[in-house]
Symmetry: C2
């Protein structure tokens, strides 16, 4: 069972989805903490079906191409629940931004400043995105959702994203100021 399997099961636990639906979620909101392309998703759904962790029902559509709707099975639920709190392996970090920063003393300062100004703008835009989503969730639930609700999990990750972008932005500003000095 790959990590992608659990990513998919986690989504199916929130309701029925097609491979296409999942691909869109991995491209958009979900992409803040996991990412996958449809070329990975379709074969993975097949594997999960063979393992009996999801079941599929084909739905005929007239206005659109037919689709395959996937649901999690009790076996799938069981596997998901076991995985959530199992020991977390320390994931190898690969940040190209910091790989570049590691050699930043080699380049002209003005160009480096422009580079990080650009990164800062991206980071701020992302932070605003998180803040808007958080505000929407808070409005819908009149505050923080209770911890039994799936919206709580979503809230926790959105909050992380917002705080994280804030931290990255602050660091970028420090770096830009240091390069100016």
């Amino acid at each position: 069972m790959s990590k992608l399997s659990f990513a998919i099961l986690g989504q199916l636990m929130r309701g029925s989805r097609t491979g296409y639906d999942l691909a869109q979620e991995f491209r958009d909101g979900l992409s803040q903490f996991w990412h996958a392309k449809h070329s990975q998703i379709y074969p993975e759904l097949q594997k999960l079906k063979d393992l009996g962790q999801v079941k599929v029902s084909e739905v005929r559509q007239s206005s659109r191409p037919d689709k395959k709707v996937y649901n999690i099975t009790p076996a799938g639920e069981c596997a998901l629940l076991e995985w959530i709190l199992s020991p977390l392996p320390d994931a190898p970090v690969r940040s190209e931004l910091h790989l570049r920063t590691h050699s930043i003393h080699l380049v002209p300062k003005d160009q480096a400043i422009a580079f990080y100004e650009n990164e800062l703008a991206r980071t701020e835009a992302e932070r605003e995105g998180f803040e808007m989503q958080l505000a929407r969730l808070e409005a819908a639930f009149s505050g923080i959702p209770s911890s039994e609700n799936e919206a709580f999990s979503t809230y926790a990750n959105l909050k992380f994203g917002m705080e994280n972008r804030r931290q990255v932005a602050e660091w970028s500003r420090w770096l830009i100021a240091s390069l100016h000095a």
Copy 2:
């Protein structure tokens, strides 16, 4: 030219290294922002040699196995400098911690709390590691290294690591408190 190539060139820019040296650096300090195993490094050094971006000299040793010392070439330097400020592609995020958090509402609260208490301890330990390294660098340079110095780049990444772990720890504490409520 893969990202690993640039990771290696960045290290060789700081001085001669063997494949073994690089593997250790990727396992230890460098691993905070890039990671690679020796099984990836040795073939990559071969490719870089074929491209003329590094040169190798074999060193006979009496007290240890012979070794191959790699140096960056002018062509390698040129490729590295071009890469540092080139447009940064947005890297797909894959955080297993947040993938799990996405389903945290499904598990018993007390077990979830224990899980995040454990993560918090790891994060704090990492933060202390960064703080100690930062303190050592500051002591060695009597403050922040100047931005032309390679120690500046190292300092910037250590500072990021420290601030990042602080943010992650704060979020973990918030999450634990929310699960208690």
